[in-house]
Amino acid sequence: MNGTKFVLLLLIVAAATYGAAWAIGNAYVFFAGYIVLQYIALATAWNILGGYTGYVNFGTAAFFALGAYSTVVLHKLTNLPLPLMMPIGGIVSGLVGLGTGYLTLRLRGAFFSIATLALAVVVQTLITNWDFVGGSRGAYIVRPMKAPLLGIDYIQYLFLVMLGLVVIVLATARAIERSRLGYGFATIRDDEVAAEASGVPTLRLKLLATTLSGAFMGMAGAPLPYYVTYLDPASGFSLAYAVNGVAMPLVGGTSSWLGPVIGAILLGTLQQVATVTISSALNLLIVGLMLVAFVIVAPNGILGLFGAGAKRARA
């Protein structure tokens, strides 16, 4: 299947998803569906760096929250429509990814991971001390009743916007997988020293992956303030994003674009059900346990269990 056909297929699936949610006609479907879509975008973004090049980013929450807080700033200062705010949030997160990567990616992979863990704490400290975006008290965002132009309910609009982002992120991830770039990433993951010796520009590729991955995370976070209408540092930087960002691709399988999608749909839906029926702390415990169980027992995730891992992705 070539790239154009894949994008067409994605669009058809996206339209069918929206149509199905609309046919059920319950506002909760859009509420819950938004979260699952947001996790598909986050998990796929994480996988562009983590799955393709093998560098682990524990700071998903930081990149995500930077996108969300960019929207808070833009909302206060400007009148931009949301689809324009998202790329700006993406640029902010992408630049932070580039900076962190530039300082740490020349060293062993573990240092990058540790830096991203610490990054989450520091960005949260900065936001907590920044009164303009509400500081530790948080910021209120008034959500419009109706979407501009389309005239549909705003939650449906957010759902639609996130669906659009998912199409873009998935198309990008799959295009990378099948390009020279993807093979370059894979050489870094498999043997960085050998790749470097064979003339692969490893640092440049790693920086590209970090920037792209961070930017998509920022874009996924940008609509959040309109969804929650009240954003404080504790919820924006919630550990749930960091752990889900890592758990979803690893549970689904990191070798192909399909893995994070499976992981995000599975864990995302599970958490939506569990949050309603049991407590939210307990459902995070379930995610943590699944992460540990999968990395020990099924290193190639669900894709690996069904034997559809790397081989089919390359076909």
Binding site: F58, T104, L107, S113, I114, A115, L239, V243, L291, I296
Partner: protein
């Protein structure tokens, strides 16, 4: 002018004491990450676990928190050995430490934190001991016992470990693993067994570190994350496996952090460690004592 000089002196002295405590928190990572090359990012979670054990022993049985942590040392040692065994079988043997091994420790960090939240809730917990509260005064300098006792405990622990590594056969074997595992294998020694012991030791230090943590400040499950940046910044700056380097780097961070808190406000302190870490990684990844 005299006032601010006094403020400065006090900030430096309590920074030194705080740094001693940071050395206790970091020494376990200096062993696991610095010597054994195991990126145990879950170490702070084990420290918080130590804090809660000291808390239970203190509130339920009225036991001294530090004494309680000494009694808990063997249990932490065994826990560490068990964790290493799983890590070895599932990741190290497969050569899969980089991606999934890291995710494993991240999962452990997360599971420990959420379990503590489920059991104890998110309230701050604190302990009671005769040395929490009073201070010694030397001229204008104040030495709060709440900081002095943890610093002394930390120094004793670092000193004891240094002696153990330098003087005993097992200690030297651990240093040998840190230097060259292949050479050790060629001499028919089993590096895995030595690493298991060393990792057990590194987790055992978390018991004591946890007790002194809850002596210094009230503890809730998520504060462990604040220590990840600090611990690894100190470990790298101190030259990875070096204990003396760890101590010096910990005290340097303690002083800088305390000066920041005194002159700019305590809410900025967590950012200092990260700045330390990034500057170290960017400028001198071998640390101040590195080769």
């Amino acid at each position: 002018m005299e006032m601010s000089l006094e403020l400065l002196g006090n900030a430096v002295v309590s920074g030194l004491l705080l740094g001693g405590f940071y050395a206790a928190v970091t020494i376990g990572v200096s062993i696991s990450f610095g010597m054994l090359d195991i990126v145990n990012i879950a170490h702070p979670a084990f420290i918080i676990l130590g804090s809660y054990i000291a808390y239970i022993a203190n509130t339920s049985f009225g036991m001294d928190p530090i004494l309680a942590s000494v009694i808990a040392l063997p249990a932490f040692y065994l826990l560490g050995m068990a964790v290493y065994q799983v890590y070895y079988l599932a990741f190290e043997r497969r050569g899969d430490e980089a991606l999934r091994g890291l995710a494993f420790f991240f999962g452990l960090l997360f599971i420990t934190e959420v379990t503590l939240v489920l059991v104890f809730g998110v309230d701050y917990r604190l302990v009671d001991a005769p040395y929490i509260g009073p201070s010694i005064h030397i001229g204008a300098i104040e030495l709060p016992l709440r900081l002095l006792v943890p610093c002394l405990v930390a120094l004793a622990m670092v000193g004891g470990l240094q002696l153990f590594m330098a003087r005993t056969f097992l200690g030297r074997a651990i240093l040998a693993v840190a230097q060259d595992q292949l050479a050790l294998r060629l001499m028919a020694a089993n590096p895995t067994r030595i690493k298991r012991v060393a990792f057990g030791l590194s987790i055992a230090t978390a018991s004591l570190a946890g007790a002194v943590l809850i002596v210094i400040q009230p503890v809730e499950p998520s504060i462990g994350r604040d220590y990840i940046g600090r611990v690894f910044a100190i470990c790298v700056l101190g030259g990875m496996g070096s204990f003396a380097g760890t101590l010096v780097a910990a005290m340097a961070l303690g002083i800088v952090e305390n000066l920041t808190a005194t002159f700019y406000g305590p809410s900025w302190a967590p950012a200092v460690a990260f700045g330390f870490l990034l500057i170290t990684l960017a400028v001198r990844p071998a640390g101040i004592f590195g080769r």
